[in-house]
Symmetry: C2
Subunit: 479 residues, 2 copies
Amino acid sequence: MVLGPEPRPLPKVLLFGLVPVAAWFVIRPFIDPVPQVPALYTSIGLSLLAFLVTLYLIPALGPTFINSNLKGKDLLKTYSTPIPESQGLVCAAVYILSLILFIPFAFTTLSPPPNGKPSPEGISVLEFPHKQLSVYLSSIISLLIATFLGFLDDVFDIRWRHKLPIPIIASIPLLMVYYADRGNTNIVVPIPLRAVFGTLVNIGPLYYLYMLMLSTFSTNSINILAGINGSEASQALIIAVSVLLNDLLYLPWRLGFRFPLHLMGNTTEIEFGGVWGAGMAKGSHILVERHLFSFYFMLPLVAVIVAFLYHNWYPARVFPGDTFCYLTGMAFAVVGIQAHFSKTLLLFFIPQIFNFLLSAPQLFGVVPCPRHRVPRFDPETNLLHPSKAQFLKPPSKISTAILHIFAKLGLVELTRHSKDGSILEVTNLTILNFFLVHLGPMNEKRLNQVLMLSQTAGSVLAFVVRYGLAGLVYDGDRR
Amino acid sequence: MVLGPEPRPLPKVLLFGLVPVAAWFVIRPFIDPVPQVPALYTSIGLSLLAFLVTLYLIPALGPTFINSNLKGKDLLKTYSTPIPESQGLVCAAVYILSLILFIPFAFTTLSPPPNGKPSPEGISVLEFPHKQLSVYLSSIISLLIATFLGFLDDVFDIRWRHKLPIPIIASIPLLMVYYADRGNTNIVVPIPLRAVFGTLVNIGPLYYLYMLMLSTFSTNSINILAGINGSEASQALIIAVSVLLNDLLYLPWRLGFRFPLHLMGNTTEIEFGGVWGAGMAKGSHILVERHLFSFYFMLPLVAVIVAFLYHNWYPARVFPGDTFCYLTGMAFAVVGIQAHFSKTLLLFFIPQIFNFLLSAPQLFGVVPCPRHRVPRFDPETNLLHPSKAQFLKPPSKISTAILHIFAKLGLVELTRHSKDGSILEVTNLTILNFFLVHLGPMNEKRLNQVLMLSQTAGSVLAFVVRYGLAGLVYDGDRR
């Protein structure tokens, strides 16, 4: 029997070196002069600690998970050693705990600012920010429920059709607080349509439906783009980093510089710098607070994902489980909804949208869908090949038509009957198989790198669209 | 092989009859004239629905739990059919979801009250109650974490020494929000000590320690008074009902009546009736709001416990699991802390305090502690006898001394060596064995009824102490 790899060793020197750095960031807001946004330092410090704790806990808890039957076999390997499953649970526990410990830092002004001296900026402004605290807490509840339901899914192995409503249940706390708070349900109308609808349209209950759909999509779309070592974590990492970069554009930076955005088709330059007036926020307290909120949720998320990815990278020592996908998907939905940049967020999901549209015929039963759609592993060459779905009975007219279009577009490869030309097999409708069809067989690590590249390219495109092309249909009016 | 009992049948007529009643309570606040405390009606309606859903879901989900290895053997029965374990999870899910769905009702004023007409009372007063909303949300987070950790305990079977800090982690959100909110850390000094300390003492960080200890105690004390069918649920039910009754004393009732409290040693009569001025609240908005808060958390809890107890009653069809004990214990801690009646709450835990003190020598390793301390079952007579712990080596001096005192007090029975009189065996140090030692062998159902009687007697005593004797050391000053 071939044995699987040993747990990946921890870089001890790096770990011990990071502890004092993290501690410095946590205590920095207590040292004079108080920095501009004190909670930002705490957030960085807690995220570093979250990274270290996750990095350490994942291998430490592996055997416990295996003993409790939370384990899986790696389908794309020659060995069949059990691998701990559902380790997204560890990420979730550390992540949510760090968000909870952050509460007093984000929502307490250490001391009333002396007269004449501007108060430190952050989520906490002059009055006690009860409203932001409720929003923050309702977000934590949604994350907890998503994690819990993801874990129940791992334990009870819920069928996927029953899984779809899970993100809806997890979003209820968000929506309840949004409603109780008399949340804004207006959408900004694109410039060409304003003659008809005006600048703002109140879509009322439809706005709640939209928020539910957003969380359902962000959660499930990560869950279905899965199956190879590191795929879930890499996607989530790149999306989270993209959101972080976008948030940074709105935060108050001391340095001032210009970004030549006219090269990307925008009509104005973007200036960074100054306090409050910084970056894209253009003097809006609300925009700064929203993006600080998003930043505070994304930074520790990046930390736990990186720590997880260290152990999940090819060849994986641990698996994420549905817990991981639900946690990360819900975290993105939370910031998209609460910080009001859901359209920008969706732009970071371009590969997931592509994968979802490609998968739709299998998900909705038009094309047969095998239990696993992961690429086929060839143990001789260690390469992955596109996996195929077989038609046990001849395909219906509609599936034939769809598959012909997909084949024409180069999305799938068909195997036809030698005589009547009817479709016998089709490569499974996932972005991973699509890469293999186009780029030829490759090993698992390489395939994941291709996925990461496509996700990065998607984010670059997203920034071009958001800060370049969006100027054509939207002005700066953000509500 | 002897087969266990079939799932207990559901009384269908009752169930279908309750649905319209529940619906009426939910929609009542929308019908003119708006009732005095509209959210109270919604709470009753949602609790009825929670009762029905739990009653239905527990047997429906039983097989799923058994398939996922969440099952146990009933140690005190002749059959060994697997019984679904951790069904506290179903209670928790329904309970927490009902609390979340309640948010818009408790925290939204349906319409601004017309001038001159008093606004309906409830948690929601004129201003948007963001502060109460954050307290409410942080309580939900603590309940979610307690449930989650209880469930992880059931899945991973954590050793009890590692379990102790679980309620501490679950209380962190409460404390963080309490701190961020600049929560009150004063305690009211008993009258005889006021000459020294004054009326109020700010105990600062010690108050946080006290809150942590309260939640640790309330959670673990229910968990260790367990082992026979219905014991966990009966205790929790009687405590929850006692808290509810106590809350009712503070709510605004329309009818006015007097309670002859001087018979219980109090110096003044207690008047009920009128609006705001009602009952013990004596005109204090804050007291009414606090006890409404507690009421809103206790009513659906009672509902899910009753539904659970229907299936958990002797002979049990389902087991609660640690999930149930953590959920209920945390719920009590939440209301005790947030509604500021932790001393009164502790009075409702008299049997648990007794059981804890009695158990302490075994919990802290002074007396040997077997894996299970449940009473011994005699399959011939169907009766329970006190179970015993054996001394494999002669007991130390300190354990001998403690056990002699316990035996003198009639708390345990000792088996001694016929020659040197040294202790060979002792009945296990639990309240259940204590009952059996005193009242003789009895069947499991009867033993649980004795436990319920003692819990009820404890609550009656608690009310006497709180509203009678407490007048001797405290005046009405409540902070």
